[in-house]
Symmetry: C2
Subunit: 201 residues, 2 copies
Amino acid sequence: MASPRYRRLGRDERREQILAVARRMFTELPYTEVSTTAIAREAGVQRGLVHYYFGAKRELFLQVVRHLTATLATQLPPLPEGLLLEEMADLCVAHFLDAADANATTWFAAVDAEGFGQDPELMRIVNRTRDLTVEHLLKALRVPGPTDTLRAVLRAYSGLAEVATREWLQHKALNRAQAHTLLASSLLTLVRDIAPAVERS
Amino acid sequence: MASPRYRRLGRDERREQILAVARRMFTELPYTEVSTTAIAREAGVQRGLVHYYFGAKRELFLQVVRHLTATLATQLPPLPEGLLLEEMADLCVAHFLDAADANATTWFAAVDAEGFGQDPELMRIVNRTRDLTVEHLLKALRVPGPTDTLRAVLRAYSGLAEVATREWLQHKALNRAQAHTLLASSLLTLVRDIAPAVERS
DNA sequence: CAAGCTATTGGCGATGTGCCAATAACGTGT
DNA sequence: ACACGTTATTGGCACATCGCCAATAGCTTG
């Protein structure tokens, strides 16, 4: 007669629900200020259940980061054919800025996670995502011989892109058009002029 | 008669000793894996003393980051006179790479601290250090009207420099000469060509 | 050598984490 | 309808960490 004391959900269902709560909280607060107790409370569940599904708190955090980066990676745009290098760079940058704008909080949370001091697994996750973007750029720009040097240059470029985006969306020292100009012309120069020079060094 | 159970040091002396231990441990391990207990143990002291000097663990950590960034900031080279823009850029990059090389662990620890999720005070510290470097670049390159836009572009450049350094020292996808070429030519192009274009956008 | 200052200790209380046995919700077979 | 088995969920134990503070004990000074 009496209503049950708790609702029993399917494994994947509950798992996803807790993950959603964790996602929100980890993007809002630093790691140390998010307790499994708080996550459980917000999910309307006992703390033990969180550990039942995810083991350690760190594991849950890694799942969250994996999800964030995966979300961003799937938003890579399709590649139109037969464009000039300039047009292609423009397009890539536009798509990138759109994605960053649309998922600002997600994006910064993922990027910020990088510095979570020396955690090897976390470094691996974030680096793999960065490499995905680099490979996408390589395909899009159709550079003849994609060497390791060029990849390194493009990874460095992603560092520039990260801060430039921050200057636009957070610090507001640049507007969107300026961020676009900066990113597009840097990309062009890096690929066309600087990368070959670096290769020869 | 019996030797005393502990040595009593002066306030600053003990403070500096604990800080040194904390510096080492925080640069070696992630924040969560460094306990005040461990710091106290390595310093040969009771845990309570750590809190007596630094209050919360977070405060101690901030002190460490402050010290790391300050150390790097004091290594800014003097500015020689009457050089071409190219030569000046070369010089700045060379000094930068030297400093990064000499203090590799310190440098990466400071840079990594940045992402310590959304901590406002920590963001402030790291940003101020970045701005110091940017101002130094501005002075060195003697650009006519140092606008806010140019500053933003240079901050973005520091993002590129950070990753490029990592590619050289950690991932080893670039050698020193290549890192130098990348950083010097990017800096030149950004200041001479791209920043004005961004300004007009 | 007594007295005072304070660096240092040692321990209490609260909170967080990892784990696991007991429990209860829900699907299934009869 | 009802017992049964599965397993999602709870609740609590054991331990570590953190922040704090009263008591203690080095060192210094007169």
